[in-house]
Symmetry: C2
Subunit: 214 residues, 2 copies
């Protein structure tokens, strides 16, 4: 059931011109691509683990590009769900670049795909600056990171169509205020869709999956 996980070792070079090529290639193949951005441990892989079985069951053909400084741990977790995965290890690189995405696409049979998820390197700052040819950027932030993060790291929250707030099951044990969080978020982005979820209790996971089924 586990598909092959390919490791592409690369030193990142800024190369934004590839983003357009990625976009053209994917549009030609009617593939939607989403760029998932969040801190280490925000729950990016967990969200994928939660929604991928729902999307697959609904008939969507999904692939994932995993970005990490090191290891194939996230790719292994996703590959276990019978989804094609390419792992990009950036070494000390702090974000994924469009030329890396362009090269990764060679590893997939694009005619057989509907959606590609790109899980960016765990980092709330740098990945926000690099377009990868995606249809939308998605910010993933956990309640345990604190309710002040949209104001302190505005760029990604400004650029995201969808904001997934993970670990809502831990709110009772923290000082996270949903009011402060949405207030901060609304002050920098007036057009976001917020999905408060838990990958433990699976709260609201269906709604997140629905976003990608539309």
């Amino acid at each position: 059931m586990v598909k092959k996980v390919k490791v592409m070792q690369n030193v990142l070079k800024a190369n934004d011109m590839y983003a357009e090529q990625v976009q053209l290639l994917l549009k030609k193949n009617h593939i939607k691509v989403f760029n998932l951005i969040g801190s280490p441990g925000a729950g990016k892989t967990s969200v994928l683990e939660s929604i991928l079985p729902i999307l697959t069951k609904a008939g969507k053909k999904v692939a994932v590009i995993e970005g990490d400084c090191s290891t194939t741990r996230d790719a292994d977790r996703v590959a276990a769900l019978d989804v094609s995965v390419v792992q990009i290890n950036t070494g000390n690189g702090c974000h994924l670049d469009a030329n890396l995405i362009f090269k990764s696409l060679e590893e997939f049979d694009l005619k057989k795909l509907d959606i590609i998820f790109i899980e960016n390197v765990g980092n709330l700052v740098c990945p926000a600056a690099f377009d990868l040819g995606e249809d939308a950027k998605i910010a993933i932030i956990s309640t345990t990171e604190g309710d002040d993060k949209p104001l302190k790291y505005p760029r990604i929250f400004k650029k995201s169509d969808m904001v997934i707030l993970t670990k809502v099951d831990l709110i009772p044990y923290t000082n996270f205020s949903m009011e402060s969080f949405t207030e901060g978020l609304s002050s920098i982005n007036t057009n976001y869709k917020l999905y408060p979820v838990s990958n433990t209790s699976m709260e609201n996971i269906e709604s997140v999956a629905d976003y990608f089924l539309k």
Copy 2:
């Protein structure tokens, strides 16, 4: 009681040669400097809030340099403890650079200081690459980020003398394994000191303060 918080707006430029100048200047003034690195929401500011009163009570003269993409929130929290603070807002910059630190030092009366803490931009990747003239790098990581982070983001854990593991009070509500965490950490750094703490229950906070009193 609240001292003035100065905001220095800067676009970051790589400039490692300043690190040596920072080091020389601080050594001359018998000041120890520590570079705190961790993800957004790892608890860097909270650790400072917990230990600063202990250090001040013990007679240490402490100052803080706060790095953030945006806002003076962290600086305001620290300044409330009657500690001199300089805020550096990096805009979209993902790390602090030694030339920014060098300029910030002009804001302090160095003859009256024993310790300077630099709270880097919330980011587990980029800040690890930039020496700021510090005596030691300190990694701050929260249990809610997951036990796999040392293996996935090895650079900072390799370079840190001290690792502060925050939010241990939340372990019962997560799948964090202390065994996996220390196993991963030990595989990339054989000479670290680990401090598992909670800024909520104040567990082990005295031990962390002791490290800086030695």
